[in-house]
Subunit: 429 residues, 2 copies
C-alpha cells in the first residue's frame, strides 16, 4: 500500500524488471553510499552525551497549539516583492525547505485581493440560488450536517512562475514556484449541495444551466464564473484543511475547492453560489485571469493548471558542499489528472532518467519525485519534465513561448532548469 521510492540509474526505462533491493537504491546510490565522499564518519570513539541529554527538557503544554522549532525560523512564507497595497498581495510557500507532498497549514501560499476578513462563523451564511428549485441559506452547522469527504489536492495560483516567461529570473524556487501548496481538504461535494436545493431548473431555452457563479465574502467580493458540468463531481465546499478548520488567510470559515483549476477559482470566504445559464463577466474575468496571445486574442476561462514539475532540492540558492551522490527531489502536479511520469536530466537536457514517484500518485495532487545524481564537480544543469495521465508532457519554455507569446502573466508551466556551478552553487540561470 505504501510508497517505496527508489533511485534508479536506468535512463528512459522504469519498466525494466529489477529486484526490490536493486530498485530500492540502484547502482548510483549503492556506489555513493559505499564511497568515501558520503560525509558520514566512521565511529572511532564513544558517542558524546550532548547537553540536551544531561538535563530535563521543556515541560509539556507550554504550547497547547504547537509551533515549529525556533531553529527553523527561516522556513516562512515570503512575498516576492513589496506590494503597494498589502491587502492585494501574495506570499509564497518555501518549497526548498519542505520535504513531503503535504504543505503544513502555516506555510500554505496566500493570494488576497482585499486582505484577510475576520469572519464570524456563526454569522456566516452560504446562499445557493439562481436556476435551482429551492434556493437556500446554509449556516456552518447546516453544512456540518451534510455528508462530507476528505481529499488531498494541490492549489496553484495561475500567476505561479510568471517570473520565468522571459527567461531565467535568477530567483529561488520559493519565489518562482511557491504560489503552490497541497493539503487534505474536507467538506461537502458541490453535487450534494445542489441536491440539497432540489437540483437545477432550466434556462429560458429549456436547457440545463451550465455555469456557476462563486462569490467570496471578502471586501473584494472575489467572484468567478465556473463551468458546472466539468467540476460537478469533484468540486467541494470545504471547511477544513489538513484536519483543522481553514486558516483565515485560506478562506475561513468556508471556501470553494475546484481540484486542478487555477487558484483564484477556489473562491475563499465563500458566501454565494449562483447557478446561471452563461458566464457572468465579473471584474475578475477580464481585469485579470486572461492571457493575451501573440495575435492579440485573449484566452479566457482557461481553468486547468497544466502538468508541471520543479526540482526543489538542489535548487537555486542552495550549494552542493562536496562531490558525490545527491538525491534530486522535486514536485510534479497536473490540473488534469495524476502524474504518470517525471523525467530528470542532470546533463543540461542531453539525457533523461525516469524519476521514482512517491506512491500513490494522487489525482490533482503534488507528487514527490526523486532521482539519483553523482556530481563530479563539473558545471552542469538539472531539469525535470512531467507527464500526466492524459499523456500531456510539460513543455520547454521555448515551446510555451512559441504557442503563447510573451504577453501572458498566467499558466506558465515550462521546464525549469537549475545551473550548478563549479563551486557547487546552484543558480536559476
Amino acid at each position: 500500500m505504501s510508497g517505496h521510492p527508489r533511485i534508479t540509474s536506468d535512463a528512459h526505462d522504469a519498466s525494466k524488471p529489477a529486484s526490490p533491493r536493486r530498485r530500492l537504491l540502484g547502482g548510483l546510490a549503492l556506489s555513493a553510499l559505499a564511497a568515501p565522499n558520503l560525509k558520514a564518519a566512521t565511529l572511532l570513539k564513544p558517542l558524546s552525551v550532548d547537553p540536551w541529554t544531561q538535563s530535563p527538557g521543556a515541560p509539556i503544554l507550554e504550547h497547547p497549539y504547537g509551533l515549529p522549532s525556533p531553529r527553523e525560523s527561516n522556513v516562512i512564507r515570503r512575498a516576492a516583492r513589496a506590494w503597494p497595497m498589502p491587502g492585494a498581495a501574495s506570499s509564497l510557500t518555501p518549497l526548498a525547505d519542505l520535504h513531503g507532498s503535504i504543505t503544513p497549514n502555516g506555510l500554505v501560499y496566500e493570494r488576497h485581493h482585499a486582505g484577510v476578513p475576520d469572519i464570524d462563523p456563526d454569522a456566516h451564511r452560504l446562499v445557493i440560488h439562481g436556476l435551482v428549485r429551492e434556493p437556500k441559506l446554509f449556516t456552518m452547522d447546516d453544512l456540518l450536517r451534510l455528508p462530507s469527504e476528505s481529499r488531498i489536492h494541490f492549489l496553484e495560483c495561475s500567476g505561479n512562475t510568471a517570473s520565468e516567461w522571459k527567461g531565467p529570473s535568477g530567483l529561488p524556487v520559493q519565489i518562482t514556484h511557491g504560489l503552490l501548496s497541497c493539503c487534505e481538504w474536507t467538506g461537502v461535494r458541490l453535487s450534494t449541495l445542489l441536491e440539497a436545493v432540489g437540483g437545477r431548473t432550466v434556462t429560458r431555452d429549456g436547457a440545463t444551466p451550465q455555469w456557476l457563479l462563486a462569490e467570496g465574502a471578502d471586501a473584494a467580493a472575489m467572484t468567478r464564473s465556473l463551468p458546472l458540468e466539468r467540476i460537478l463531481e469533484r468540486a467541494l465546499v470545504v471547511y477544513a484543511q489538513n484536519g483543522e478548520r481553514l486558516r483565515p488567510e485560506n478562506g475561513y470559515p468556508l471556501r470553494l475547492l475546484v481540484p486542478g483549476f487555477e487558484g483564484n477559482t477556489n473562491v475563499k470566504w465563500l458566501r454565494r453560489l449562483k447557478v446561471v445559464d452563461a458566464p457572468l463577466q465579473t471584474r475578475e474575468e477580464t481585469s485579470k485571469y486572461t492571457g493575451i496571445l501573440p495575435d492579440g486574442r485573449a484566452r479566457q476561462f482557461v481553468f486547468e493548471m497544466d502538468a508541471k514539475s520543479v526540482i526543489t532540492r538542489p535548487s537555486a540558492g542552495q550549494r552542493l558542499t562536496a562531490q558525490g551522490f545527491y538525491p534530486i527531489v522535486g514536485l510534479a502536479w497536473s490540473g488534469r489528472g495524476a502524474i504518470r511520469k517525471v523525467e530528470v536530466s542532470t546533463d543540461s537536457g542531453a539525457t533523461w532518467q525516469t524519476a521514482v514517484l512517491d506512491e500513490p500518485a494522487r489525482d490533482r495532487a503534488l507528487t514527490r519525485f526523486q532521482a539519483g545524481f553523482v556530481w563530479n564537480g563539473a558545471p552542469t544543469a538539472i531539469l525535470s519534465r512531467a507527464t500526466d495521465s492524459t499523456g500531456y508532457v510539460q513543455p520547454t519554455r521555448e515551446a510555451l513561448v512559441a504557442a503563447r507569446g510573451l504577453n501572458s502573466n498566467y499558466h506558465y508551466n515550462g521546464i525549469q532548469q537549475w545551473r550548478i556551478e563549479a563551486d557547487g552553487s546552484v543558480k536559476n540561470a
Copy 2:
C-alpha cells in the same frame, strides 16, 4: 483516484450494486436533505452584506508562519490530568474538532518522559553501530543526502483509551482516544541506513542479528528494543512531518517511525541505533509497556496496535440540536495493515450498517469513515467496529477484558459506545 465517500442505508451490505448517485447519498441522506428538519433556510430576501465585506481585511504577512483563527482557540491539545512532573506527561489531540485523516502539526499528541529537549540540528548525530560492518556517525546533512520517502501513517500511544478498561469513563473523545495522530512523514528507510553501514554482521552463533536498540537524545534517553526483520522494510528515520521539519515535541530533528507499532517505539530525538542479537532489557521494557494478564504473566514486546475505531462526531460532550439526519463520522486504524471495513450501529448494537470509507484506505494510517443516522429523538447509543486487512475485528470491551483481564494499562482497543439522551446530549456512558 480520489475518494468518494457515500452514505449508505443498507445494513450489512456495501457490495450491493448502486448507481453513483444513489451511492453518493443513499436513501437516508436524500430524505434528510428534503426534510424540513435540515435547518438550511429558504431564501426569501436579498442576502445581507456582512461587516467583513464592507471594509478591507488584514494585510498579508502579518503571519509569515500562519496560525489558526482566534475563533478556533478551543481546538488545542489538552492533558488528561495535572501531571506531578510536567516533563513526564502527555497531551491529547482534539479529535472531535478535527475533520480529516491528517493531524495538523500543532495538534499532534505528545508523550514525553523527560520533557522536550532543545537540540541543535547541526550538532546532532545519529550513530549506527553494534553488529554492522562499518559503524558510522551521521550528521543531518548526511541523512538529507540519502534517498528518502514520504508516507502517511498514524501514531498511537500504547496507553490510548486506557480510561475505558473498567467501563465507560464519562470522558470526551479527546481524552479517551486523543493519544492518536496521523501525519505524512518523510525520511530515510531503515534498510537504506543499514546498507550505508555495510549491512549486518553475524551474532556469536553465526546467525543474522534480529534486534535493534533505538535510543533518544532526551534526558530520559528513552530506549526500546525492536524486532528488526518485522520492521526493516517499513521503518523510517524521519526528519519531516506534514512537509516541514519535525516539531520539537515530536522529535526534532530526528525520530524513528515504525508504522503500526506503539507510539513509544517511534523513538523521538533519535541518536542511536544498535544492531543486537537479543532484546536489551532497558528500563522501558519493564518499568512500562508490558501488560499483566489475569494469571499474573506479563505480555512483553507487544508492539502492533490492533485494529480500532471511534466515532468522533457526534461524540461525548456534543449535542444533537434537532431531530433529523446526522452524518456519523469517525476514524479507524490498524497497526497490522489497512482498514477493510467499518460497521456502525445507531441502535445500541442491535443492527449494524457498513460505513463508507474515505479512499484510499491507506496502510497503517487513520481512515475516515461515515454513516448516515436519522435521529428520531429517542435515547439510543452509537458504536463503530473496525475490521482490518488481516481479517481481525475490533472486540467488545467484554471480550477484551475476558482475554486480558483488568490489570493492563496498554493496548485497549474495545468498541467505543456513545449514548445519546432524549435531550440530544451525547455521553460516554
